[in-house]
């Protein structure tokens, strides 16, 4: 328990130390469990009613975040390989899973918001803060995995997003042209 508390503390407040000292001898078990638990945690936050059926749905929906996490790590590793960066995929999976931990703060934030403890604007700001915290940990995870400066890690992280935006613009443009053509 002491070891767990120390890891948890370090991830939140000393992530560099946490990421460097973390053991990777069991690369898949802990990350997978962690992402699964956070996924359940997020689903509980957004559900409006509960029953046995919804719990079953939870179980299957929780795999969404796992799939997202695996794909995210896969794309980052793919891009890193394109730049001939040396790194361990298992290590990347572990570190990126740890980077999800700040999401647990959504629970107290939303509870206080629901109790009208603060305004919607402040709520958005705080949620944005949690999101930036998570992204920062993802950058740090990439930086530590491939031993690259953090600005380079940011570029690697941005490439899939920029690609998605470009692809989205292209797709919208394509469908607009298709609709124009169909209504001639």
């Amino acid at each position: 328990m002491n070891n767990f508390a120390e890891i948890f503390y370090n991830i939140l407040f000393h992530p560099v130390i946490a990421f460097r000292e973390f053991s990777y001898d069991k690369p898949y078990k802990l990350p997978l469990l962690l992402v699964f638990l956070i996924s359940i945690f997020l689903l509980l936050l957004n559900e409006d009613s509960f029953s046995f059926a919804t719990l079953l749905v939870f179980f299957f929906q929780s795999f969404n975040l796992i799939v997202y996490w695996l794909f995210f790590a896969f794309f980052v590793d793919l891009i890193a390989k394109m730049f001939n960066l040396a790194g361990n995929y298992s290590k990347l999976l572990t570190l990126t899973s740890l980077a999800f931990i700040p999401w647990i703060f959504l629970a107290p934030l939303k509870l206080l918001k629901n109790a009208s403890f603060y305004t919607s604007d402040l709520a958005v700001t705080l949620l944005l803060g949690v999101w930036i915290w998570t992204i920062s940990l993802q950058v740090l995870a990439i930086s530590e995995t491939y031993n690259i400066p953090r600005k380079n890690a940011i570029i690697i992280l941005l490439i899939p997003f920029l690609g998605c935006i470009l692809y989205f613009v292209w797709a919208v443009d394509f469908f607009i042209k298709l609709l124009q053509f169909s209504t001639l």
Partner: protein
């Protein structure tokens, strides 16, 4: 506090927050119940009870072709959504938001019948927007209560059958039509010749019959309305109905005085009314059952910019001239 204890305390606060949100019956303080409910914990004390909102927007028609890209309301999509709302036990009342000048007779009757069946199980409130005339009123009359704004254009109770005669034009450009038919009425309503007296009488009879069906529908749903709800209603007499069912349109204010609608108010007033009729102590949240979302909504939004088809410019009775219509145009 050392860092281990601090870490455990943080984790504990997060988990307790989650459990508190799930199990505490009411964590809201001064929350505006009229706002869209936050899905996070907010519905637990109501066990997800809600009001289904279904929109009737534009011309009421079963047509999917050739008006896929035009602003024509489809009965099938509406009835599908209505069925979902009926099956959902958490839906305690249904609001039909109508902004329609009417449409085809059969499509209006489909919706009317479905609403009559629904109101035997759940309270149904019709909320009128800008226009709820003719077929729009036909469908609204099936609701337990009708809420309209003072400026809502309603009425237009009647049936129209529009025939286009292009015989003179066809003659000028040298177009003739050769018809081989099995009976004298088989090509009734043809574009290429003038309508005979017999045909006029035949179509007039259809219009009169459809008009009688319209009046009968309002009589069943509103004049003879005898429901269990204690909320105030306006009585519509058969005499008033017959007097005002001559195709004229009137504003919501007058409709209220005459008994065609039960209350003057907005969608919010309809929400309060529906919650009351559902026996809820508070105001139930509204959930849309006909709203398109995701990629379909995106594409439908985009097409609106590009698909101003010729059909949209013409009156509906001109493009749908082979059937009786309950429409105001």
């Amino acid at each position: 506090m050392d860092k281990k204890n601090l870490a455990l305390a943080i984790l504990g606060v997060c988990i307790i927050s989650l459990l508190a949100g799930i199990f505490l019956p009411n964590t809201k303080i001064g929350k505006n119940t009229n706002s869209t409910p936050n899905p996070f914990f907010s519905n637990i004390e109501k066990n997800g009870e809600k009001i289904a909102l279904l929109n009737i927007e534009g011309v009421i028609s079963s047509d999917l072709q050739p008006n896929t890209w035009a602003n024509v309301f489809t009965t099938e999509s509406f009835l599908g959504a209505l069925e979902k709302a009926q099956q959902d036990d958490k839906v305690k009342a249904v609001i039909i938001r109508i902004n329609s000048p009417g449409g085809t007779v059969a499509a209006s009757q489909d919706i009317y019948d479905a609403l009559l069946r629904l109101r035997e199980k759940k309270p149904v409130v019709a909320s009128m927007a800008d226009v709820a005339a003719s077929g729009g009123y036909y469908t609204a009359s099936a609701a337990d209560r009708i809420v309209a704004q003072k400026g809502t254009m309603t009425g237009s109770i009647g049936v129209i059958f529009n025939f286009v005669d292009i015989a003179s034009l066809a003659n000028k450009i040298g177009v003739t039509s050769n018809v081989i038919k099995s009976g004298k009425f088989k090509d009734s309503g043809s574009l290429y010749r003038k309508m005979s007296t017999d045909e006029k009488e035949l179509f007039q009879k259809s219009v009169n019959d459809a008009y009688k069906q319209f009046i009968k529908a309002i009589e069943i749903a509103r004049v003879n309305r005898n429901d269990k709800y204690t909320v105030k209603k306006q009585n519509l007499s058969m005499q008033t109905l017959k007097e005002y069912a001559d195709g004229r349109v009137f504003l919501g204010d007058e409709a209220y005085k005459l008994g065609f609608v039960d209350k003057i108010g907005s969608l919010y007033d309809a929400q309060i009314l529906a919650s009351e009729m559902a026996g809820s102590s508070g105001i139930l949240p509204i959930v849309s059952y006909t709203k398109t979302n995701g990629i379909r909504s995106l594409l439908m939004g985009l097409e609106g910019k590009f698909a101003r088809s010729f059909n949209e410019i013409l009156p509906f009775s001109f493009t749908h001239n082979s059937r009786p219509l309950v429409i105001w145009e």
